[in-house]
Symmetry: C5
Subunit: 354 residues, 5 copies
């Protein structure tokens, strides 16, 4: 998880607007595909030649251009130029260390956020940066790798499910955003399960391993928080955009996404509080265990050390030790031993150690 | 308690506005009942046919339609369509993971909040989501299961107690809200009792079990906080609604509810602080107990280990050990033992360990 | 202290505005008294008949009606009706679980706050709710029990000390508020003394009892905070009241009270920080003590356990043990013992344990 | 330090505006001195007769009247009356428990703040309350005792250094404020030195004494914070005063003072964080030491207790113990002892305790 | 690191505007150089005579005057006078204890911030104060020592890379600011690496040394926070400057810098949280280790102390001890020993200590 926190620095000395891909390369080759539709019409194709991608700028249908892979900065630069996107925005698109934000240009809106998926194999949260350019009739989305989160939207477009085919780009951007935010709930559910498992393990048998897990979970939650927290503000400024690219009639859909985002943040904060509480419990349990260990040691030592001393006394080899010659000396010693032991046990009872 | 924190995710891939019931199903069958009244008139009946429920839309009397059970999404969808409610609102109504909020549509206001009850059997707080649609002449309430919190209001309407029959839907929504918030105080009282019991137990005999209880209580309080905190904002935007559905003359009643909500939140915050304080005390008490155990061990060991050594010396079998032959050797050893013991005890006294 | 935190719930099911006394009954019988004055005139009397209390509504002099005892809801209801006070306000007056607040009605202002006194006998802070109704020419104050905080004001009115007789009700409400806030400083002083005593005791001899005291003090400070914190806001909205009941020329007196309130809150916050600090110190001191105990145990055990082993060796009864027959065997053993002991002591010196 | 936190309460029952000196009396007798100047003119004298002090009210030159000693409330009352100062302000001047604030009257501005000096002898921070009345052509300053912080300003006036003689009272109040705030940096430097010393001592040899020092420093920093924090707001409202007593051309000087105040507050916050960090380190170091002590004890005990047991076995006096008669029995025991010891040491190595 | 926190106080008693260099002297001699350019023209030279530096004030080309070394206050004063800079600004320039801020004069803007570099040799963060005066056609920058952060900008100007030569001073100030903020990411990366290393070391073998490192890192992060946090505000007021010195078309570049600053602050906050988490883990690990040590001690002691007692009993020299004469006495003792040992081990198993 830690790696996600590390900031990467731009290549020093380069003029602003120079495209440098920062982040892991997660796909082999840049892939592009386009969907173009209105209520009656639908077309979908993969794009090989970048020039083809540029041809959709003037279409009057809704066009969604999806770009997978950010490392080919030349291609992205060309698309950017074709669609009139500012070089600083392009720089942000290829730098995967962005925090979620909305930037409002008059001609288009730039929205960047994090897509999160839980990798069951590696048992960790996977993060991917997704950027959107929302123009008058087009949306360009930039992803780091192929993912299935958007597939359900593609399906809805293809099959004309719901109202999506009747709506404009503002509804499409909502649908994409909604898909990403909905996906956060799956991460939260997963995280909630892990917390619940840990809570149970904590009650049953708290091992040092649990501490490591709590620590890891705390870092995960910290990371979720860092990735999602700024999204609230980003969605908010998207809604209040003055560009006219988002129709007022759509507002209530964005308000819904906004509510979901707050719900996610709320749950994250609750998780943080719970994990802190679990750490406290863990420490207390460890401390209690220590107490119990000390009690056993103390009881054993406190009973037997004095007895051993008594035995030691009569193991001495002094020539003149009258007790050794007493007929009931040995028997008497046993009585002393029993009395001492019983007294000790009563004392511990009183102290509530037994 | 933990389960309440777990977020549930919508069925991925479905278009927004698709009704999916999220949450436990708490009742067998959807039940509907309606109350219709004005100052002089009163009618009440259970509704079997949904179409009947729709007929109240145009009535000029105050109509309160209560729906129990959220899992029959078809029925809820039909009601929603009949009363012209947005599909996103219907989606929220059947998803029990909402945080309290008010949404202001021009024709109606949507209010969702949590009803809390303390389940004496399970010894835990029970949560239920309640949604209200406040229209011009009607209120529709959606509950997860049958509960008695609203019964007192029904009674007041039936018997025309207080001013309720003379007032409009805005007063009715206030009365319902007030009943729910008043109920929070019972939960708080219960929680306060549990904290008080624990504080007493902590002073008398702090066991590891208490730690578990503090932990559980903290999670309960955390959960209360999460459920009630956003209500403040929701009540506030209800009052400032621009829909004209709430008459200004009613404002002071809502202000009263608002004050109560703040009072509840205030008390929750105080409980949090107190529970933190109790955890500190618990840890200190445990640590003190450990100290005492260590002191006993140390005193016993420190006195007897040197004495055992002395006894060990004269238990050696060297041929030439002059002391063994001294007449008062054994007697002298006892003097040494007593002197060492007394010196130790004085030392411990000085250290304030005895 | 804990009991002050417990919230009480209204009788469920009653219509809003139903007067139910919530809280302890602190006085036997409701007592009423009235003061009526202007610059030249002064009259004071106890009131037996409630109707008499109502007769002061139309007087052009400044009238201060003081009601002691909140359990006689019938009487309070009658006064409230006579003076045209909203039933929700009356409900708040008799419910002692209010947080300090100001409510501005056009005809009158409702102000509720907490009067605090330190009960030397019970060694705890005593809380009483005081409500004020500020009208055009009258003030009605509601107290839970007889107290002397207002006596000095009565005296000033009687003897026409200061400007009070020349001023209107707005100055009188200021004077009453000022008396209550001034009284907070006495509580703070008392609390400060207790903290100082504890700090001294902590430095000298930290016992587990101190922990209990810190815990209790923390709860007291928490309680002070809860009682006084909202007053800031209440005084502020009193000053900014739009009712015209408070003359602008009086503002600077209220600003003075406001400053005092902030000073009180400031000191409370500082106390909280100090108590947290003291808890840390206490825990460290306990931990240091433990360390010292462990050191003594370790030194004694580390020196004598090996020596006892050596003695044990030569206490064995093997037939062939050449050392036992050496002439200087016993003498040599003593040398070994001394060497080991000295080596151990040097080691402990190096470790800075001695 | 603790004493600074204790709040003092006004004499209860006295009408507002009654002057009561609250605080320690720090000087024998009230001393007054006056400076009067413009660009060309300069006069300075000590004042014996209070009436003389009043004569400067109408002068057209800049007049600075300095009053040292707050216990002579009669004198201060007379000055206050002469200059038309509100009695509540006079009450604040003689009550040394004020928090820094600015109060804007139309005719004059009242500014109160804390002057801090580090007393090298007592090793503690000394606090003195300083009040200013800024009028059209005069400034009256009230101090608790004679101090040298203002001497540099007097010197600049006398010798006409810098622009001070060319400017009005607004520049003079700035110069005085600036001198006080500059002095805070000396306190901070001192405190920084103490923290640094402690950090070094902590790294070298953490003794319980250091804990006491950290605790004391934390209280000092807490006190600094309480004294300086509200000054930010006070300076801010001084700048935004609507009285016209402060010329806009001077604003940038006040902004400078404001920046310095923020810098001071910033450093105080950093000190707080650092002291918390040091406490953590101290506790960890103590805990590590404990660990080490335990390790030594455990190693010694774990090696020798089993060995002593072996020796004990062959010290028994059973008649039939074949080993005792073996020729190499004693030799064999030594081999067993060495094997056990080596095994133990290897075990500890593996555990990284050695 | 600690030294960076220590505040320095101005020479007391000097009039405001007196230039006193506060801070370490980091360079031998003041060096000045100038760059003058427009789209077609470019000139660069080192300046020896200060009068030459003043001649650029009226040039219509973009002029960047860089001054290295702040200790020669006479030179800086002369430049300041020549360019009409307020003496308080000059005072701030030579006092290296400033917090980042923007001050807007009508003729010029003053911007001060911190340049950070990681010194690999000393293993610590190096801080340098950089001040900018942004005028109509000129920028004056003041540095403490020669550094290479600006070299890349110089290079871009010289080689006319990017748009820099076509733009005005507002773009140049952006470029300089951007270079400094970009450099922060390198510090963050370095710090992130150190945290990651520590996290790994913590998992493998937590030594007390790690505690020292966490402590040091926490102080470093605290210092970063203090140095960068106010920059957010400074950049913000730079953008909203009303002087007209910054063209609106440049705003989006500043917004980019602003975003980067927030990203930096975000990461710093995350680092703080992570370091707190690591401290918790460290403490828990130490506590677990202690537990384990105690367990070993307790197991060994609990098994062997009773056994040694048994051996001690039969080492006594009583004349009448029947067991000693039994044929299988010795054999029986061994059985007892084995039984006791096995019982103990089973008990420990049950307790989950083994």
């Amino acid at each position: 998880m830690l790696k996600h926190f590390k900031s990467s620095s731009r290549m020093k000395g380069l003029p602003p607007g120079t495209l440098i891909h920062i982040g892991e390369q997660k796909t082999q080759q840049v892939k592009m595909s386009v969907m173009e539709y209105n209520e009656g019409h639908f077309a979908e194709k993969d794009i090989i030649d970048i020039n083809e991608a540029l041809s959709y700028k003037k279409t009057s249908n809704v066009t969604w251009l999806n770009v997978i892979g950010l490392h080919d900065t030349a291609a992205i630069s060309k698309i950017g130029d074709g669609y009139g996107i500012h070089s600083l925005v392009l720089e942000d698109i290829v730098n995967t260390a962005q925090r979620p934000k909305t930037e409002d240009f008059e001609e288009y809106i730039y929205l960047v956020l994090k897509m999160l998926t839980y990798d069951e194999n590696k048992q960790e949260i996977d993060v991917e940066q997704v950027s959107f350019i929302l123009g008058r009739n087009f949306i360009i989305s930039f992803q780091e790798k192929e993912g299935d989160v958007f597939d359900v939207i593609r399906d809805r477009i293809r099959k004309s499910k719901g109202r999506i085919r009747k709506m404009k780009t503002d509804y499409l951007i909502y649908a994409l955003l909604d898909a990403i935010v909905d996906n956060y709930f799956i991460i939260l559910e997963k995280t909630g399960d892990r917390i619940e498992d840990m809570d149970k393990a904590l009650a049953e048998n708290p091992t040092p391993k649990i501490l490591q897990s709590i620590h890891k979970l705390k870092q995960d939650v910290l990371f979720l928080r860092k990735s999602i927290w700024p999204l609230r503000e980003a969605v908010n400024s998207l809604v209040h955009s003055e560009s006219g690219l988002i129709n007022e009639s759509i507002n209530m859909f964005f308000r819904d996404v906004y509510d979901h985002t707050i719900q996610v943040i709320d749950t994250i904060e609750t998780y943080r509080d719970m994990l802190s509480g679990m750490l406290d419990v863990y420490l207390s349990v460890v401390s209690n265990k220590m107490n119990e260990i000390m009690k056993v040691l103390t009881i054993i030592a406190t009973i037997f050390i004095p007895l051993t001393f008594i035995a030691g006394i009569y193991g001495m080899n002094f020539e003149y030790m009258p007790e050794l010659k007493w007929k009931f000396g040995y028997f008497g010693i046993w009585i002393v031993i029993i009395v001492v032991t019983v007294a000790m046990i009563l004392y511990f009872r009183k102290k509530k150690w037994l």
